[in-house]
């Protein structure tokens, strides 16, 4: 049986794909949005018709009666639309293309989108302190409401990050976490309560977020991020990844996937009293492998579970990550691209070092040698990966 990835690759090889710049020139094409209602409501390509993929076969002929009319199909990330394009071809549509990278890429490339035009009365009140800031305002708030952030981990860093992102009105939060709430988490993981002990962290965080802000749609992935599921999860279309993982295999996997999917990663890590924060923006700044070509041997890299961490530290570092994320979403300020911020809680001292792209980086360098997912557990096990 082919896996999802196999099937997707197969379908993509059978259809035509266009990227956002090319699609923006196809003015005579009909744009068909096959996403769900809530995704459409958060913003879409102007002039597009909306036919959710689940109703595609039954409803497309009403929306696009002329099968000679050229069509561009899009979803959030380009996967659902690939399948939809195949379906349209089977239905006899003569000229069908799928938008590679989907609405997320379209929007990130700065092409026009049609937003819900205004905020409701409750939203004006809820976000009033944002609306007063010229750099945010109504336009920025609408942008946040239609933004999508994927959180890797709903633990120490993911807890404060998810709460502040939710409070800020970031419209869709994805949470990848395969862990359950443990008593030892509650010293710092403020998205979870004593009542949530034993629950999936993703579910517990979702409940906390929804209680805080009903505007936010939370998508949970109760699975460990792996080479097998990362493409499927990223295909859902994310503007920013907030990395709060607790292990090196996931860090390197997130890095490689983010470079290949061209999604910025807001990176944070913590140990005892110290934290590190930076932004890895593919093709603009360095990636994690430029910074650390290889992980340390496991015996030289104690985790927080082994070495401990001050409970408030992830609150500070996760909040710094949230600040970077919101800046990236709004396109304001100077994000920490090419800069690594170091925080020492004992001294209350911030320092900063420069990060540069490594032209010899195996993933984002001039001549990449790693072009598909590797076995990250083995890569980080201390055995030489290239042996």
């Amino acid at each position: 049986m082919p896996s999802y990835r196999d099937l997707l690759q197969q379908v993509k090889s059978e259809i035509t794909e266009v990227d956002a710049p090319r699609a923006s020139e196809l003015r005579d094409h009909l744009f068909v949005d096959v996403r769900e209602q809530d995704e459409w409501d958060e913003g879409h390509i102007p002039g597009a018709v909306h036919v959710p993929r689940g109703h595609l076969e039954s409803k497309i002929e009403a929306a696009a009666p002329d099968k000679a009319q050229p069509v561009v199909v899009y979803c959030a990330g380009g996967s659902r639309s690939a399948f939809a394009a195949k379906t349209l071809e089977e239905l006899g549509y003569e000229n069908v293309a799928s938008l590679a990278g989907g609405f997320t890429d379209w929007k990130r490339s700065g092409f026009p989108t049609q937003l819900p035009h205004t905020l409701g009365a409750e939203q004006r009140s809820r976000y009033s302190r944002h609306l007063l800031i010229p750099e945010v305002g109504i336009e920025g708030q609408l942008k946040l409401l239609q933004s999508r952030v994927l959180l890797i981990g709903a633990g120490g860093l993911g807890s404060p990050a998810s709460l502040y992102l939710a409070a800020a009105g970031v419209g869709t939060l994805g949470i990848v976490d395969d862990d359950r709430v443990d008593a030892s988490n509650l010293q710092r993981q403020i998205a979870h309560s004593t009542e949530a002990l034993g629950e999936w962290k993703a579910d517990s965080a979702k409940r906390t977020i929804e209680a805080l802000n009903p505007d936010v749609n939370v998508v949970t992935y109760k699975e460990r991020l792996t080479s097998e599921n990362v493409d499927r999860i990223l295909a859902d279309g994310w503007d920013v990844i907030l990395d709060g993982a607790d292990n090196f295999p996931t860090r390197y996997l997130v890095n490689d996937a983010s470079v290949w999917h061209d999604v910025p990663v807001v990176h944070g890590s913590i140990y005892r009293f110290e934290g590190q924060v930076t932004v890895f923006k593919p093709n603009v700044g360095p990636c994690y492998r430029c910074l650390f070509p290889q992980p340390p041997p496991p015996e030289l890299a104690p985790s927080c579970a082994e070495g401990g961490v001050l409970g408030v530290l992830p609150g500070i570092v996760g909040s710094l990550q949230t600040n970077e994320t919101i800046k990236l979403l709004l396109g304001i300020g100077e994000p920490l691209v090419g800069r690594l911020l170091l925080f020492d809680a004992l001294e209350t001292e911030f320092s900063e070092v420069k990060l540069r792209r490594d032209p010899a980086c195996p993933v984002c360098g001039e001549h990449p040698t790693i072009t598909e997912y590797v076995d990250y557990v083995e890569f980080c096990s201390g055995r030489p990966a290239h042996a």
Binding site: N185, V353, D358
Partner: protein
């Protein structure tokens, strides 16, 4: 010539818990030689194949030595030197 080297938390057990230690040398190599001679436990954390280990960064005045002259990067008197190994923690 003496320089203050900042020691990250994961390496502090090797230097008796100190946050920073003085070291002498005019290049990163000489600094690391001096440090690892006095604190032998640091050697495998900092050096591999006679070079800066690929899982640690050495910053000299805020710049990654790997992007300068690597282990031969000169260190001026009074420079700020930071040792920085990768940390993974965040979730659990």
């Amino acid at each position: 010539m003496s320089t203050i080297v900042r020691i990250p938390p994961t390496l502090r057990p090797e230097v008796g818990g100190e946050r920073q230690v003085p070291a002498s040398g005019e290049t990163v190599r000489e600094l690391l030689d001096d440090l690892t001679a006095r604190f032998p436990g640091l050697a495998r954390q900092l050096v591999e194949d006679d070079d800066i280990a690929p899982f640690v960064n050495v910053y000299v005045d805020g710049e990654d030595a790997r992007t300068l002259d690597g282990i031969e990067t000169p260190v001026r008197e009074g420079a700020t030197v930071i040792l920085l190994p990768a940390m993974a923690g965040g979730q659990s």
